[in-house]
């Protein structure tokens, strides 16, 4: 069975490309001229103060939010109003949310096989095998038949990651996956994410876990007031931030 990463190989263009992208909420200009290119296999970490538009930006990548100007390409396909195109892109892009968003009326296993069976039309038996494999990888195969409400936050988030992986996505988006977790559970989730990064998954990750960013990040993106203020490799970004706003942000976040 082809790995998600191998399957991605034939497309030599970027995994995600945002070109002069703008977005407004009514009169409010949330995203201003965003330019960002994510190569296949690249790990991009996005940080910035609250309200700077980080969530909005990554939610545009799978069209949970609509952009109004500029162009957005995912795996070579442009995101437009075309529903077929949107569904095609969503198949290839997994997303992990701050509040997990598991389906509470289904068991863990049912959560995991829903997308594969209904969207990818994979036979149920095969979907279950894949699901169990990913549950092993996030280290909770014994929870397969429980309901999400019976798991801890850290376990729920690992299930959510496994659920996305079951769709064999080419790109994974993370929106503050650890910020709703108790401190002792953050590590178990980050470990899973680090492992995923080491396997070469293309990732766009909004997080304030700077340790994680240093370990796996290829590119750091700093956003403020709807703009990308600074974009650097992590060593440079942390040791030698150029912009004042970046310096201020880093001094605040690292002092904690």
């Amino acid at each position: 069975m082809a790995n998600a990463q191998e399957a991605a190989a034939p497309n030599l263009g970027p995994a995600v490309e945002l070109r002069h992208m703008h977005k407004w909420y009514g009169e409010f200009h949330v995203l201003k001229d965003i330019n960002l290119t994510v190569r296949h296999g690249e790990r991009v970490v996005v940080c910035g103060p609250s309200g700077s538009g980080k969530s909005t930006m990554i939610r545009c990548i799978n069209r949970l939010e609509e952009h109004q100007r500029g162009h957005l390409f995912v795996d070579g396909l442009e995101l437009t109003n075309d529903l077929k195109q949107i569904e095609a892109i969503r198949k290839e892009v997994g997303m992990v949310f701050q509040h997990f968003n598991l389906f509470p009326h289904m068991t863990v296993l049912e959560n995991l096989i829903l997308g594969p069976t209904w969207v990818r039309k994979i036979p149920r038996k095969e979907a279950i095998e894949t699901a169990m494999m990913y549950l092993e990888r996030v280290k909770i195969p014994e929870q397969a038949h429980k309901f999400p409400g019976q798991l801890s936050g850290g376990q729920q988030q690992r299930v959510a990651i496994a659920r996305s992986l079951c769709m064999k996505p080419k790109i994974m988006l993370f929106d503050e996956p650890t910020s709703a977790l108790d401190p002792e559970m953050i590590k178990e989730v980050l470990d899973v994410m680090i492992e995923l990064a080491e396997e070469g998954m293309t990732m766009v990750c909004v997080t304030h876990e700077m340790g994680f960013a240093r370990t796996v990040g290829d590119t750091m993106v700093f956003m403020d007031e709807g703009e990308i203020v600074e974009m650097e490799a992590p060593e440079e970004f942390f040791s030698n931030p150029k912009n004042e706003r970046t310096q201020l942000f880093l001094s605040q976040i690292l002092s904690h």
């Binding site: 389906f103 009326h105 969207v119 309901f147 409400g149 659920r163 769709m167």
Partner: protein
Amino acid sequence: MTDTTEKHEDWSRPPATEVGVIGWLRKNLFSSWFNSILSLIAIYLIITTIPGIIEWALINSVWGDKSPEVCREAKGACWAFIYEKHRFILFGVYPYEEHWRPLVAMIIFLTLIFGSCIKPLWKLGWWLAALWAGGLVMVGILMWGGIFGLEYVNQSQWGGLPLTLFLATFGTVFAFPLGIFLALGRRSRMPAIRSLSVAYIELIRGVPLISILFMASVMFPLFLPAGVSIDKLLRAQVGIILFGAAYGAEIIRAGLQAIPRGQYEAADAMGLSYWQSMRKIILPQALRITIPPMVNGFIGGFKDTSLVVIIGLFDLLMTSRVAFQDINWRPFYVEGYLFCAAIYFCFCFFMSRYSQWLEKDLAKDQNH
């Protein structure tokens, strides 16, 4: 040392004031002075009314095949009236000799309904649907007849309990899905669908059921081309369905609104289509929340079917009333109403208890 240990109370059981009859009384009836007063008032009312009721209904009452004169002399309830008239009350003007037919039809119908309430049988899936289809064909054959040597009985002669059950059941069964579509329509992003749904719901909710039935009965035929006529019973049924759907839609909409946005987003992010995400994610959760108000609506709808009398259908309530129009039995209308109420109560109480059980059962494993 030994002294103190001996003085230790027995900790293996809670104190006597907390358990047993006394504990229960203290906790539930006399937990505060206000509660105590209410309890005393309630006890007083029970003591003063219950003996009288028992005397009237059971001790001084007249049972079995007795004449109205015996009843007039007795001080208690005249159950002889029910004995005399129960077949008319239950089956209306359906030909007397053929009463076994609506009886069997009703048994089949109720077996289907109660059977569908048994959870393990849901696994039958399409088989259950096939059973329903087969059962309804049998019910139809029994009620109408005209084949297999059964005398034909026009539906204008149907009445009593079967009529009430049919109207209520089909009203519920068809109004429910229609209500779901209306609720989804009202939340649709497409302006045309949204405005149509809103207009429909608000229009229907704005008028009483009586006027809808009346329109269905009197006005509707005026719009049909000459020669085409739709049966009165069917028109009433359609009226009830259209009315129920508007109310159901609002209940379901409340359920949809209670589902967190994250659920919609997770479904979208996974690539599920609109209908897939409604069917697998949103509706199962929304409908679960709406069980209590929904069953409330079903119960109301069940009783509202009695309004069909205004277009001349003989439902259970009407047959009960006609029964004591009989000059001999006129004084015993209380018994007639009580009998009718008891039947309504059985069905409504069942619905209520079943919904409570269902709610608990569905919540059982996914406790948060």
